[in-house]
Structures are given as C-alpha cells and as structure tokens.
Symmetry: C2
Subunit: 209 residues, 2 copies
DNA sequence: TCCTGTTTGTGTACGCTGTCCACAATGTCG
DNA sequence: CGACATTGTGGACAGCGTACACAAACAGGA
C-alpha cells in the first residue's frame, strides 16, 4: 500500500494495514497464504512491529477471517435486498432463503480464497453475532440465514417443530458444496456444472428442511 | 516406528514408512500437520531421503490423503454391511443411504484430522475411482454413495430425472456439516448436539433429494 | 566373479518462516 | 519539562522445504 517510506516513525493504523495485506494474501491462496512477515513488508514495516498488534500469526489470521466474514455477509445482504417484496409472502420467504444460499455460494465462487479464510479459521459460533463479522447492513451471514428460516415458519412453509436447528442443516448443505468445489475433490468441476449443482442443492434444502 | 538404528543402509519400504508417519501426524492436526522432515525423523532417515519417493512435500501429503480416503471408505462399508437385508427393498435402500451418511459423519467425528486429510487435499474427482482410495471391500466412498442412490431409484423412492447429480447434493450436505463442526464456526458445538444435527441433516437429504 | 550403472541413502547449505530479546523513537500526561 | 507507556527497529534462533554433490547398496552382464 504505502510504497513511499514513512516519514513518521509511527505508522498511523498499522493494525488495519496488516489486516488489509492479509486480506490480499488470503484472496489468492486462502488462510494458509497469510504470512506475517510478508504482511509487515507490504505495510513497509519491520517484522516484529506486527507483534504490537497481534499476539502471534494466529491472531492476525483471525482478524483477516473476521474481515472476510464481513464481506460474505455483505454479499448475502446484496442478494437479499434484490428480492422484490411484491409477491405473496410465501414466495418472498422462499426467495429470501434461496437468496442466502445464492449469496453464500456466489461469494465462494467469486472469492474462493477469502471464503476459506472466512469459514475455515474461526474460533466458534459463540461470536457469530460479532458486529465485526457483519455486513454493511449490520447483520452476520448466520443472522441472515436465521431470518430467512423464521420467515418460512411465519408463512407456514416450515413446520415450527422443525425450526430448531434448521440453520445447521441449511448451512451445512451450501457450505459443503462450497468446500467440495473449492478445496475438495470436486475442485475441477466445470464452472457451469457447479452452478447447476448449487441450484439443485438449494432445491433440496428448500424441499427437505 | 523402527527406533533401533537400521543396520542396513537401505530401509526396506521407506515410502510406506513415510506415509504411515504422515498418517500419524495428520491424525492429530490434519494435513497441515504433516511435516516432511518429521516424517523422515520418525522413519529414522535423513530429510532428503524422502525426495527419492516424493517429488516434494505436496506429493507426500497427497499420498497420506489417499490412505485416509481409503480409511473413510472402510468406515462407510462397515455401516453399509451392518444394514440388515431382511426388510422391504424400499427400507433397505433408504437405510443404505443413511448408512453412507452415518459412516461419513462418524469418521469425521472419530478421526477429524484424518478426515480433513482425506477431503481437503485431493486433486480432483477424476481419481475418485482410484483403488488406492477404496476400502477393504474395494469401493471408494463416492462409489458407495452412488450405489445407494441407484438403489433409491430402483425401488422408486427417487424419481429418475432427479438422479443425475444427486451425489453432489447428498455429499455436500454431510460434508458441509462435517467441515463446519471440524474446522469451521461450529467447532465447539456440543458433541450430542452435533450428533443430533447429523441425524436431522440426513433426514433433510432423504426427504429433499 | 568382478565391473559398471542405477537406485537409494547421507551431508551440507540456502532462504524463508514465526518468534524472542534488548533497545530506540515517539506520543501522553503529570 | 520530565516520567512513562506505546509502538516501532535490529539482531538472533530454531525449524521448515528443498537443491546439490557425494556414498553406500544392489542388479545384471562380461
């Protein structure tokens, strides 16, 4: 980023600069490609400077992961907002669920490295409501999924007794396809075939939940 | 393995010894924990000896991955074989599908490191029929899943027009749950809750395919 | 049986990584 | 203005993957 050597001894916002550099590295190569020394290099700073902001490499990667999760949430919000609210409520609810799945899979396809950084690193779900992981609209991807499922119950498309835990099933399905295609055995699946598989998968979820 | 220093200059079967060491390391720590130098150390051999059997670390990890996939296939075969063939064919077909899912998820739960070594490394699906990845019964996990789906069509539980590509949907679902629980945001999910989520997920697949 | 060539091991070395330590520049607050 | 906390630098270390040159063990034909 800042190619010109700093005139000031202090950097300004080194922490953010390191996270940005980490995001760039994760974009091509996933979380494993985030190397601490390289991040400091890109920030124009000595390797050890990073340790003033992160206890170790793991903490840096986790910060990158949080930022990546926020980007995913943004992508899902965009799909959600594109759903017209004019149709009958039942259709809107289903459309919202499918929008969440489409946003998730679309992000995985367009930004595989960041997707893996987002979802193969994080500590646990306890922090799924962490605003740092939310999109511009302030909601995390998990919250968006929950909203869609609540909506399905409200319009009577999902029996209330099947609502608890439904997040896990729906999430698992799309997440699994993403991982299989990204870093799993379906790695070389044709792009169009993968897209079709995504649509079919969302059908299955919509039908089977 | 061979703690006593070799008396012979040659090792015997170094390649296999390295793969075995790699499996041990992958068992705790997943594919990233497979370190080439450590493998040679455990085999009682100098670091460079590995390069007579693998072009680089990646090739070693891939060999470990193949071995791990074979173990998964074995676990699935065991579940499959435990299904009694006495019930009506329809029930048996569904039971086989569920056995595949149970075997897959059970292996992920019992051997998380090996599971990740098996499914986050491999090159692509082209080699899904590779006998090296098969279980003792000679079939890969992908083949077992396909067999279950064919059976479902045969007994009329799955419309033939939905058969093509059904592997991807079913596989995605179980794989996704496994990944979320193993190295994803559901990492700290209670063991019993995870098990219940698995059962519910298999329900969804069975219903929605 | 020796001689020769191929296979499979060893030794040394290099650059890269994450991380530790002591020290210096900068900002803040009494 | 001076003391203190913050944030940077510099040097060092062990461990990693890997390249290169060399040595031991085997294999086959003379």
């Amino acid at each position: 980023m800042s190619l010109a050597p700093r005139v000031n001894y202090r950097h300004g916002d080194l922490r953010q600069a390191l996270v940005d550099a980490g995001l760039d590295m994760a974009r091509e190569g996933g979380p494993d490609a985030v190397v601490l020394r390289e991040a400091t290099r890109r920030a124009g700073v000595s390797p050890n400077a990073a340790y003033r902001h992160f206890a170790d490499r793991t903490e840096l990667v986790e910060a990158v992961s949080d930022a990546a999760q926020s980007l995913v949430a943004g992508a899902i919000e965009a799909e959600w907002d594109a759903v017209p609210a004019t149709d009958p409520a039942t259709d809107v609810a289903h459309a919202h669920l499918r929008a969440v799945g489409r946003g998730y899979l679309g992000f995985a396809r367009d930004e595989p490295g960041l997707f893996r950084a987002a979802f193969t690193v994080p500590r646990d779900l306890e922090t799924a409501l962490d605003p740092a992981k939310a999109g511009p609209g302030g909601r995390t991807s998990f919250q968006l999924l929950s909203m869609a499922l609540d909506e399905l119950v409200a319009v009577g498309s999902l029996p209330p007794e099947r609502r608890p835990g439904a997040e896990f099933s729906a999430w698992s399905a799309v997440h699994g396809l993403a991982m299989l295609v990204l870093e799993g055995p379906l790695r070389n699946l044709d792009r169009d075939v993968a897209r079709a598989a995504g649509a079919r998968l969302i059908d299955m979820v919509d039908r089977g939940l």
